[in-house]
């Protein structure tokens, strides 16, 4: 519909670019939302941690371990209780128990992180690093051992099948396809982000969490139990990381590969920062990052015609992959809009002795 403007000098190129971007984003909408799911879930785990003053760079390891345990448990249960995929998302007992196992793994590693950060008062960055290294080593070890007996897959959730007329609607059809043609974990992400946003900014728990993250001493003087609240938040944050892990092996794919999270936990950290420690902001950042990757791929496979195509294909594909990281540094440095972490983020809390 923008075609008549294509031949205008200079402006024409910009219009072509916009047209191409709209085209890529609408065609790939469903994939972009799916790929943003683990980033957004990881970032929500980070929100729970960092809003109450605990840095978590162990999201990567938590998701990796959850991806493994979810896959493995689903595989075992699938063999014990064979079941046909049900009508709702193709769910089977194996898949549901797998998701629970993944969430349990996220919770378990979060307990370790909480204990090291809050009780031991260890450096929180080292604690996260430990989780990453142990998760990588343990899942790699177990995967090699188990794949010798070539463990069968426990299957995966099926995407929802929305009615065709809905997706064929003009202008908004692609949006329905993007949001509805998804597996259950991806679909839940939008809801979870909104719920967490409301909880964080509209409830007593949220206010307390933010108070503890900004100024724990002040929070303690008005009677908030800082230690307990931090434990609670860090551990519950593990649910999101666990769900993010389950996405890899039960929703998006159905098999486990060593190191398959492949830095997605760190991009989640970037999304958290780019989204300024807001759940909905983090989801937006995750979508943007996923779109950047999709754009890089689209330019290789279906470049736009003419001058614009020549220009876009001359940009290395790697640039689009690296873009989320570059943007995060720029935002963190405050060059374009400042992003500041909660004031007490990263600082162990020591209760003053009662005399």
């Amino acid at each position: 519909m923008l075609a008549p403007l294509f031949d205008v000098p200079v402006l024409g190129l910009i219009v072509q670019l916009v047209d191409y971007l709209i085209n890529v984003l609408t065609v790939n909408g469903a994939l972009i939302l799916a790929l943003s799911a683990p980033l957004a879930l990881g970032a929500m785990c980070g929100v729970m941690n960092e809003r109450s003053g605990v840095v978590n760079i162990g999201i990567e390891g938590m998701m990796l371990a959850a991806a493994f345990s979810g896959w493995y448990v689903a595989s075992i249960v699938g063999q014990a209780i064979p079941a046909d995929p049900s009508g709702v998302f193709g769910a089977t007992p194996a898949l549901l128990i797998g998701v629970l196992a993944a969430i349990g793994t996220g919770l378990l590693l979060s307990v370790v992180h909480a204990w090291l950060c809050i009780t031991v008062r260890a450096d929180q960055i080292i604690s996260g690093t430990i989780i990453n290294i142990v998760a990588f080593g343990l899942t790699g070890y177990l995967d090699l051992l188990l794949s010798q007996g070539s463990q069968p897959s426990g299957g995966k959730f099926q995407p929802f099948d929305p009615p065709q007329w809905l997706m064929d609607l003009p202008f908004v059809g692609w949006l329905f396809r993007m949001v509805l043609e998804q597996g259950p974990i991806t679909m839940s992400v939008i809801v979870l982000a909104v719920v967490l946003q409301v909880l964080l900014f509209r409830t007593r728990w949220g206010l307390r969490t933010r108070a503890v993250g900004e100024h724990p001493k002040a929070a303690e003087t008005v009677g908030i139990n800082v230690i307990r609240l931090r434990y609670q938040n860090v551990i519950l944050g593990g649910i999101f990381a666990g769900l993010g892990g389950a996405w890899f092996t039960l929703d998006f794919g159905s098999s486990f590969q060593i190191g398959m999270t492949n830095g997605r936990g760190y991009i989640a950290l970037a999304a958290l920062i780019f989204g300024r420690w807001h759940p909905v902001g983090a989801l937006g950042a995750a979508l943007l990052f996923a779109a950047s990757g999709a754009l890089g791929t689209a330019i290789r496979t279906t470049p736009p015609p003419g001058q614009l195509g020549d220009f876009l294909t001359s940009i290395p594909e790697q640039f689009f992959s690296a873009l989320p990281y570059i943007v995060t540094i720029i935002v963190l440095a405050g060059v374009v809009g400042r992003s500041t972490p909660p004031a007490a983020d990263g600082q162990p809390y020591e209760r003053e002795a009662v005399t």
Binding site: V120, D123, F136, Q318, I329, D345
Partner: protein, 376 residues
């Protein structure tokens, strides 16, 4: 003095011991899958295979030192930054930038006389690493952007830069996979080779030169005193007339230099070309190396050799005991866990001696939040 040495060694030794015990539990539990039956003695076979593979022969010793070389150099980088209250997780990226630059320059100089090609290629890698360390240093000094996040981001950016360079401008035509051209005459001379595939290059001597230099810098020079003061208390350092901004940038730059050097000699001494997907975990292993040595530069030599030995012994472990090499990653993670959970270790071993952690780490966490203490 004796008490101090005891205190310095007790915690790392206890952490390693507990990690080995915890690792043994994992091995015993998984023994039915490894050997087909429950085997409580499998950990002994595993650990003895590691020792045999790393220390049991001349070839094993060579492999150990070669594997330890990058670990020590990047470990020194992490340790030095710890002393300034900085957490350099960017060893990975700095290593990669040093490696790809040395590979590019080395390939360009592959027909030049070795006396020119080798030093120039090493220098190029070292400068690239230093520049890549300077970026997070400057960002921290002038904008307060925390180095933990910026270096993690820079690690991935480095990965994509390498991927771009090696699949693009540096790609060797006709190679069956994406790689840069051979470095030819820029290869670091081999000083040990028995024709068994286990060889050592001259670069293995560098850690033993670099570690004393970093030790001297930290403990015998004015600059080192200032670095340590900034690490211990940035506010006090500023009141004493030191310049925390300059020191932060300088320390990160030297840290990047060490990691870049490691990358350069790994390419010029071992690999001789740069593959597009260079797989390394050196940046994270170096954190364990530095913490195991409590950020002491001389101690880093020993902790680096220990982790190098574990790497060198891993193949034999997999062959003899059937335990996958990933066990080494797990053991390293466990060592780091027990080093960090020092209250647990102290309880188990009833260690009363003070110390064991890296005190400067307190500053690292303190500066993460909005209340930056280094930014003026």
């Amino acid at each position: 003095m004796r008490a101090r040495i005891w205190a310095a060694l007790a915690m790392p030794a206890a952490a390693i011991l507990l990690a080995l015990i915890a690792g043994a539990v994992v091995i015993i539990l998984s023994s039915p899958i490894v050997t087909g039956h429950f085997d409580p003695l499998l950990p002994l076979a595993t650990y003895s295979a590691i020792i045999q593979g790393s220390l049991g022969s001349v070839n094993g010793l060579v492999d150990t030192v070669v594997a330890a070389t990058p670990l020590i150099l990047v470990g020194l980088s992490v340790a030095l930054c710890f002393k300034a209250g900085l957490f350099n997780i960017g060893g990975q990226g700095q290593f990669l930038m040093g490696a790809v630059t040395a590979a590019g320059v080395g390939a360009a100089l592959s027909t030049a006389p070795p006396l020119v090609a080798v030093p120039v290629a090493i220098l190029a890698g070292l400068v690239a690493g230093a520049a890549y360390g300077f970026i997070p240093g400057a960002l921290k000094a002038f904008t307060g952007a925390h180095e933990v996040v910026t270096t993690i981001m820079l690690n991935y950016i480095a990965y994509y830069v390498v991927s771009y360079l090696v699949t693009g401008p540096l790609r060797e035509q006709g190679a069956s996979f994406a790689r840069s051209a051979d470095v030819g005459n820029a290869a670091i001379p081999i000083i040990f080779n028995q024709g068994t595939g286990h060889e050592a290059h001259l670069g293995i001597l560098l850690p033993f030169i670099a570690a004393p230099i970093i030790w001297w810098l930290l403990y015998r020079s004015t600059l080192g005193f200032e670095i340590r003061t900034v690490g211990a208390n940035p506010d006090a350092a500023r009141y004493a007339g030191m310049r925390p901004r300059m020191l932060v940038m300088l320390t990160m730059t030297v840290g990047g230099l060490l990691a870049g050097l490691a990358g350069a000699i790994e390419i010029l001494g071992v690999q001789h070309y740069m593959p597009a997907a260079y797989s390394t975990n050196v940046g994270f292993e170096a954190i364990t190396v530095a913490l195991l040595a409590r950020a002491n530069p001389i101690g880093v030599i020993f902790s680096g050799l220990l982790l190098g030995a574990m790497r060198a012994g891993a193949p034999l472990m997999q062959i003899q005991a059937g335990v996958p090499v990933q066990m080494i990653d797990l053991l390293q993670g466990l060592i780091l866990f027990f080093l960090t959970a020092d209250i647990l270790v102290r309880k188990v071993f009833r260690i009363r001696a003070k110390g064991g952690g890296v005190d400067e780490l307190n500053t690292v966490g303190r500066t993460y939040g909005g209340q930056t203490t280094t930014a003026p």
